[in-house]
């Protein structure tokens, strides 16, 4: 960071801009919350928030919308974060979904995601009356996100209308809303996947071990490896778990997250592999394969 030249490297510039965004939202909204998905982007966002208010504590709670089908490693990691957190971590699960016995096997990935993730998030935001929710989404993740605002306005039904977004100029963010409306704030908007990994590496941020290659019991489905993470996993006829050295590029609910075969067991190796294999980020997430432009549909419905 110290430089006689008074020049910020691109990563330090991104960091400074993200901190400005987080402070601005924390100052302007009455009741903000930071979405915490346990993934690497959330971990980076959390570090940026700690930097923004250091030496003070976070002026807002974290929120984990728990679908109950996350990887066991993610729960362990989350609990570790919670233990060290000088603040509150709210865990929320859609009670209706639980009552329905919602799971990704019997209900299909779309229905399951709608209920446990999208509805769960909306319920939590409504229940706690949050008027601002920080999210770790990046514009480079997917085409429809390339136009997402940093302060992204949602109506009182938590809906995003791509044609009705406020113009966003300079770093002057409009945080004015009416009661019941809310804003999703994306401090990592301008970060790329490479930036996030680089930051994890430079800042020595601990991330869930699933990001690193290890022998794991998996089965092959739709051309990707699905981890047999606990005994709730339903094996299809003839399916037999086998040990493969795999890692995950994105983390979600284990029956819906595809792993890739890999030898990368450190951050630099992960980055190396990522750069040498040019595949886009969300390929490992089964839910995006429904239809072209599906992320846009999900966003309109209130998914992050």
């Amino acid at each position: 960071m110290q430089s006689s030249e008074r020049k910020l490297s691109q990563l330090r510039q991104l960091e400074a801009e993200s901190i400005q965004i987080i402070r601005e939202a924390a100052a302007e909204f009455d009741n903000p919350v930071m979405m915490y998905s346990v993934g690497k982007d959330s971990s980076v966002m959390l570090r940026l928030a700690e930097k923004a208010f250091s030496p003070g504590t976070l002026p807002f709670p974290l929120l984990h919308v728990d679908t109950t089908w996350k990887f066991q490693d993610m729960y362990r990691y989350r609990d570790k974060i919670e233990a060290n957190l000088k603040g509150e971590l709210i865990k929320y699960t859609n009670p209706e979904g639980v009552a329905m016995g919602m799971n990704p096997f019997d209900f299909g990935s779309k229905k399951y995601t709608d209920v446990m993730k999208t509805d769960g998030l909306k319920q939590a935001l409504t229940k706690y009356e949050f008027d601002c929710a920080f999210g770790g989404a990046r514009r480079d993740e997917e085409k429809s996100r390339a136009k997402e605002r940093i302060f992204s306005f949602r109506d009182s039904h938590h809906q995003w209308d791509p044609k009705n977004q406020r113009p966003e100029l300079w770093n002057v963010y409009n945080a004015k809303i009416k009661k019941g409306e809310n804003v999703r704030v994306f401090p990592l908007s301008n970060w790329t996947e490479l930036d996030v990994w680089l930051y994890v590496w430079l800042e020595k941020i601990q991330v869930v071990p699933l990001y690193f290659a290890k022998e794991r019991p998996v089965v092959e489905r739709s051309g990707t490896w699905i981890l047999v993470d606990d005994d709730r996993m339903r094996l299809e006829k003839g399916e037999k778990p086998q040990m493969k050295k795999v890692r995950f590029r994105t983390l979600g609910c284990y029956p819906l997250s595809g792993a890739v075969e890999s030898e990368a067991d450190t951050v630099p190796k992960v980055i190396q592999e990522m750069l040498l294999n040019r595949f886009s980020e969300r390929q490992g997430r089964l839910i995006d394969f429904d239809e072209e432009g599906s992320m846009e549909v999900k966003k309109r419905e209130g998914y992050f």
Binding site: L8, A27, R139, R166, W170
Partner: protein, 608 residues
């Protein structure tokens, strides 16, 4: 990227060390759909190896041509692909060996200015495309003008589709010469020209053999090397406080991103608006203390003295003050479908301050064809104008062309909360020392005490126009009865109406009361005696002719006398030209009410 590939393979840590130190450059790409802008961006992304295999597969599948249509790489949302146009600013990211880039890709056609202004606000470079076949068009000049207005320091003009003009040096030079001449009227630090073909790839990422007469850099080569470091303002320290960090009684830090300038431990400062001086005792970050911090860094400053500072205040240096003022001139770009209402109060957000403000004067509008000043007949979506603003509280501002951070503001509609305009402050040079600043801060509000609610806003709120329904008639004609029946009916229909009961015997005070209620956007019903024509002329003149509805309650004279034998009616002059006439001896009162209501609707008194 290609040169880096070996390094990634052989020594990833060395690559990462190199990558993280890269400088970031933001540029906005400007042009209409036909100029080939999407193709140029697609070409840059493709040729720098930034396109993933699966993205390329999708593009190949969606292309209607044999060659992959690179423009599809950047055309994002479903809705816009269906319409065949890009409707919003999209951001793209790529990196080369030398720099990391953020592209703000702004679409042509509808809402053009709005989108371009958004993308241009943070850009270091504007990339403008000119079709070699058409030369410098009106819109190329317009784009350059907006880029200059938004303070973009560097302009890159790509003369595209050179392949369709046989790579003619004459064509290229004629366009460059014409544009150079025009560019002299603008404020770019430099303008660079490129003869390119986005479709074929000439001079985009590498030099082209098709233009042996051109020895300048490729577009990418230029973007990788154009010096942007000196573009930031390191001279004027401006620290708009975002957040006060107070974990315990012993620590009080003021957090902000340094808008401009440099600050070092031990520096003397002054806090605005209190004018209190102090000294910086520490510049804190999560990663430890700094001796010095500069524009663009997010830090936390601690001061020697316990002075009162909160969000929206600004820490500056005593020998280098911003202009402290409630009134200033600015260029604004109107971004919303709903036009500017000069009678209404808006919110202005400037750095970390949000204040009520009014745009009380439009000096001129910019004719987007000729780029010359023209008288304004109302500021609408995509209009650019120079205006004067009055704010409720003083802002700490600089001229936008000298300081983009403290010269910029947005305008927010108080009713809808939409961002309706972007503003660039235009200051004339003048010296203001700390005494002048304190005088300004302690002066009475620069805004005249007047309403911030415009008639249009009231109309929207109430769904009606303010009006006075004035009932004229002989004593005993049933005016008051009708007035109250009408009030009830209007109320039942969801209107906001009231009968103002007589206050004393004085017609003048009655007229004043009626006017006040009408100004408030309500429907006032008045039956106070106004027997003479002079009386009625006076009231229409004072309340406003278009806001008065005259109802003549023409009840049979004999009947009136019978009801009120005590009153002398000799001075009564029947209205000559009432808007509505009703005779209460001939119709039921609710029919009379219905008649008046019908007439009100016909006059457009209510919003549909």
């Amino acid at each position: 990227m290609t040169d880096d590939k070996d390094l990634i393979r052989d020594d990833i840590e060395a690559y990462l060390a190199k990558y993280q130190k890269k400088e970031m450059l933001r540029f906005v790409s400007v042009g209409s759909v036909d100029d080939g802008k999407s193709t140029l961006i697609g070409r840059i992304l493709y040729d720098t190896g930034m396109v993933f295999e699966d993205q390329m597969a999708a593009v190949r599948a969606a292309s209607q041509t044999e060659e992959p249509d690179l423009a599809l790489l950047t055309d994002g949302l479903k809705a816009e692909r269906e319409q065949g146009i890009t409707i919003d600013v999209a951001y793209r990211y790529f990196a080369t060996d030398k720099r990391k880039f953020i592209i703000a890709d702004t679409p042509g056609h509808i809402q053009y200015t709005r989108n371009m202004v958004t993308g241009a606000s943070t850009a270091d470079v504007a990339l403008i495309l000119i079709d070699a076949r058409h030369g410098v068009l009106e819109q190329s000049r317009r784009h350059a003008y907006i880029a200059s207005l938004l303070g973009i320091p560097h302009l890159a003009v790509c003369v595209n589709k050179m392949d369709l003009k046989d790579y003619s040096q004459e064509v290229y030079e004629a366009i460059s010469a014409e544009f150079t001449e025009f560019g002299k009227t603008l404020r770019f630090k430099d303008i660079q020209f490129f003869p390119i073909s986005a479709l074929v790839g000439d001079n985009v990422v590498s030099d082209s053999e098709n233009t042996p007469w051109y020895d300048g850099p490729s577009v990418l080569g230029y973007l990788e090397t154009v010096p942007i470091f000196a573009d930031r303002n390191f001279d004027d320290f401006r620290y708009p406080v975002q957040y006060v960090i107070r974990p315990d009684l012993d620590y009080r830090g003021f957090a902000a991103e340094i808008a401009s300038g440099v600050i070092a431990k031990g520096d003397e400062i002054v806090a605005l608006p209190t004018g209190k001086p102090s000294k910086v005792i520490a510049i804190d970050t999560y990663d430890g203390e700094l001796d010095e911090a500069f524009a663009g860094q997010s830090v936390t400053i601690r001061l020697e003295d316990e002075i009162d500072i909160s969000r929206g205040d600004m820490i500056v240096k005593p020998d280098n003050l911003p202009r402290v003022t409630r009134r200033f001139d600015a260029h604004i770009v109107w971004l919303h479908e709903r036009p500017l209402d000069t009678e209404k109060a808006y919110l202005v957000k400037h750095t970390t301050q949000t204040v009520r403000a009014q745009i009380d004067k439009v000096y001129f509008e910019v004719d987007m064809g000729t780029l010359e000043e023209k008288p304004s007949n109302g500021i609408e979506l995509n209009d650019i104008a120079k205006v004067r603003l009055s704010c409720h509280r003083a802002l700490y501002v600089d001229d936008y062309q000298k300081n983009r951070e403290t010269g910029a503001f947005i305008v927010i509609d108080t009713l809808t909360n939409n961002t309706v305009a972007a503003g660039m402050i235009a200051l004339e040079d003048s010296d203001q020392n700390i005494d002048d600043v304190m005088k300004e801060l302690h002066a009475e509000s620069a805004m005249e005490p007047k309403t911030f609610v415009s008639p249009n806003e009231r109309m929207e709120r109430f769904g009606q126009r303010g009006a006075t329904i004035w009932l004229t008639g002989l004593p005993g004609s049933g005016r008051w009865t009708l007035a109250y029946a009408l009030e009830r009916k209007l109320f039942d229909e969801g209107r906001t109406a009231t009968v103002v009961s007589p206050v004393g015997e004085d017609l003048r005070s009655m007229i004043s009361a009626a006017k006040a209620v009408t100004d408030a956007g309500l429907i006032n019903i008045c039956a106070f005696p106004s027997p003479t024509r002079k009386d009625r002329d006076e009231l229409t003149a004072r309340i406003g002719e278009d806001r008065v509805i005259q109802v003549y309650v023409n009840t049979d004279e004999a009947l009136c006398r019978e009801r009120r034998p005590d009153v002398d009616t000799s001075n009564f002059e029947p209205p000559e030209d009432p808007d509505i006439t009703v005779a209460l001896d001939q119709m039921r009162i609710d029919n009379a009410v219905a008649l008046i209501l019908e007439a009100l609707k016909e006059r457009g008194q209510f919003e549909a």
